[in-house]
């Protein structure tokens, strides 16, 4: 299943099979690390896989290719899903994934450009990635390059005020080469988002900020493929995909369980989870 080039895979079944492999990595990595954020990594798998294997123009042999599409994991705590994708694409070594969070590992607790040059940005402090993505999108416009910038946001993350500064900027400046995705898994560290600081009505919020909004099931690969195409075709305004997802998706005892926001599976749980993901 290794894809070491920018060859695109459109077949949803083939993409789903990659998703399963990514989920296995997330479980084994966080299990080996004994810490980390499996829940919000598992919820974003289809989004990340659809982008890296189908939608985005990129070449693992040339991580500094100026024409590459950019991906920013603004919800940096979901690093395991990104690391697993980068490794499966061939950017970074797969056999080192289980060094996640250990001293000297390139797989730092949150994405760190100093250790992995293929990362577009160092993230981890929530609320900041959309602004960085806008800077890249503006640079593309100035340089007349047609690369697109994708920014994956957490749902809790958009409680940060800077997100809405960026949202206002993007529509006012008609930045249409950026696409934000909200991984709306409904859970943040302290509990359910609706109980901490409800985001609803979410789609009207983005609409009122001047964004084109697409609401979908974030585990539905064909829906994601269609949405990314619609985003690329939408001119004059930025697009946000509100992806309704399930935290811990794919592992029955982790699904929709706030505990697994920031707690790694035990050795027994890893074994159980891998059976489910076989």
């Amino acid at each position: 299943m290794l894809v070491a080039s920018m060859e695109r895979i459109h077949d949803p079944a083939a993409l789903a099979s990659i998703c399963k492999q990514i989920r296995r990595h997330i479980i084994t990595m966080t299990g080996a690390a004994r810490s980390g954020h499996p829940g919000g990594s598992l919820s974003a798998v289809e989004i990340v896989v659809t982008l890296y294997w189908d939608v985005m123009r990129h070449d693992p042999a040339r991580p500094d290719w100026p024409e590459r599409d950019r991906f920013i994991l603004s919800k940096g705590h979901a690093a395991p899903v990104l690391y697993a994708a980068l490794a499966e694409c061939g950017y970074t070594p797969k056999d080192a994934l289980n060094t996640l969070r250990k001293l000297g590992s390139i797989y730092q607790g949150h994405p760190d450009k100093r250790f992995i040059p293929a990362l577009e940005a160092s993230t981890g402090s929530l609320g900041e990635g959309l602004s960085v993505g806008l800077g890249m999108a503006l640079a593309a416009r100035l340089d007349k390059r047609d690369f697109r910038t994708y920014v994956l946001l957490g749902d809790g993350e958009i409680q940060e005020g800077q997100i809405w500064e960026a949202a206002m900027f993007a529509s006012y400046h008609k930045v249409d080469n950026i696409c934000a995705i909200v991984d709306y898994n409904k859970i943040q560290l302290d509990g359910f988002v609706a109980d901490i600081m409800d985001l609803e009505p979410l789609a009207p919020k983005w609409e009122s900020f001047g964004w084109h909004v697409i609401d979908l099931d974030g585990h539905d690969i064909p829906a994601l493929q269609k949405a990314f195409a619609e985003a690329a075709a939408t001119k004059g305004k930025p697009t946000v995909i509100i992806a309704h997802t399930v935290k811990g998706k794919g592992v029955s005892f982790m699904e929709n369980n706030p505990k697994y926001h920031g707690v790694a599976p035990t050795a027994e749980e890893v074994e159980l989870a891998l059976k489910e993901l076989a």
Binding site: E120, G124, S131, A139
Partner: protein
């Protein structure tokens, strides 16, 4: 080399004005120079750049955190962004973004803070930045510049554009006394010895450099030989020049338009504690100021040549 007695205070352009003019020169020379501003282009003087290069000036509105983040993204995509606002706003509201998006990944973002210190005047303490030397120096990878006049500012801005990595430049609102001839040359991290001296060294930065020169002139007439150092680069600090000053003059006064508890003075004290301990007196601010004209405020808050002269007398008594 100047002699202290020859210095006369003549006002030149404000350092923010020199920043704005230099930015236009750079814009003409390099299409990768881009600018972010937060609804203050007419005050930060990026308005000149905006007029000539409207497509390369990103008006961010009153949203400094987003502005710094956009600057980081532009830098990561190969641009050379200058982001500018009042020091009080960009360095505090943008600090977290400067930490994680600029300092930590060593992104090539230039931050220019204007209206620094109390010499902004009538607007009062909410607009006065008296903490940002501490904030900028707290960020690894940042070079921190504090030019004294328009010539030094032009050099600082051009140096920042040519350097790969984060830079903070501290500029002010009022017209700044002319210190340098237009052909003066500077070296990053090297203090400029404006006046030689053997009894005491006055270490100054920004607007206080002119006051230090006036103080040295007064002291000279009293038979005290005061060396004057302009610290245009606060980080990295010229520890060699400070060590020489401590060894050769035996006492120092540090003068800055910043909180004494966290500015240039504490950095000088740290350097000399390592290299060559010597008595030091500190001229700066103890707390928040108030509205008033710049001159009234500099008088009231003790940032004038007579204050420096008094501090020299105190430190000489401790030698």
């Amino acid at each position: 080399m100047l002699t202290a007695a020859k210095f006369e205070k003549k006002l030149g352009a404000a350092t923010r004005e020199a920043f704005g003019r230099t930015l236009v020169e750079l814009g003409r020379e390099n299409p990768n120079i881009v600018v972010g501003d937060a609804d203050l282009t007419k005050s930060t003087m990026t308005t000149y750049f905006a007029k000539e290069f409207p497509d390369r000036l990103f008006e961010c509105g009153i949203a400094e955190a987003n502005m710094v983040g956009i600057g980081a993204g532009l830098a990561l995509a190969g641009k050379i962004p200058f982001v500018s606002s009042f020091s009080a706003f960009v360095m505090t509201k943008g600090f977290e973004q400067l930490r994680v998006l600029v300092a930590y990944p060593n992104a090539n973002v230039k931050v220019v803070g204007t209206h620094s210190g109390i010499s902004i005047g009538e607007d009062g303490p909410s607009q006065m930045s008296i903490e940002e030397i501490a904030l900028a120096c707290a960020l690894p990878n940042f070079v921190v510049l504090s030019p004294a006049d328009e010539v030094a500012t032009r050099w600082a801005v051009r140096w920042a554009a040519a350097h790969t990595g984060p830079v903070f430049i501290r500029t002010g609102r009022p017209k700044a006394p002319i210190i340098y001839n237009s052909d003066a040359s500077f070296e990053i991290g090297k203090a400029v010895q404006l006046v030689p001296g053997s009894d005491v060294t006055i270490v100054a930065t920004g607007l206080l450099v002119a006051e230090a020169l006036l103080a040295a002139g007064q002291l000279e007439s009293e038979g005290v030989s005061a060396r004057v150092l302009d610290i245009h680069t606060i980080k990295p600090l010229d520890e060699d020049a400070l060590e020489r000053a401590a060894r050769e003059t035996g006492a120092l006064v540090v003068a800055e338009e910043h909180l004494v508890d966290s500015g240039l003075g504490v950095r000088v004290a740290q350097a000399l504690a390592k290299r060559c301990p010597a008595p030091i007196e500190f001229i700066g601010l103890e707390g928040y100021a108030e509205s008033g004209s710049p001159d009234e405020l500099l008088d009231k808050y003790g940032l004038r040549a007579p204050n420096i002269v008094e501090a020299v007398r105190r430190v000489l008594a401790r030698k």
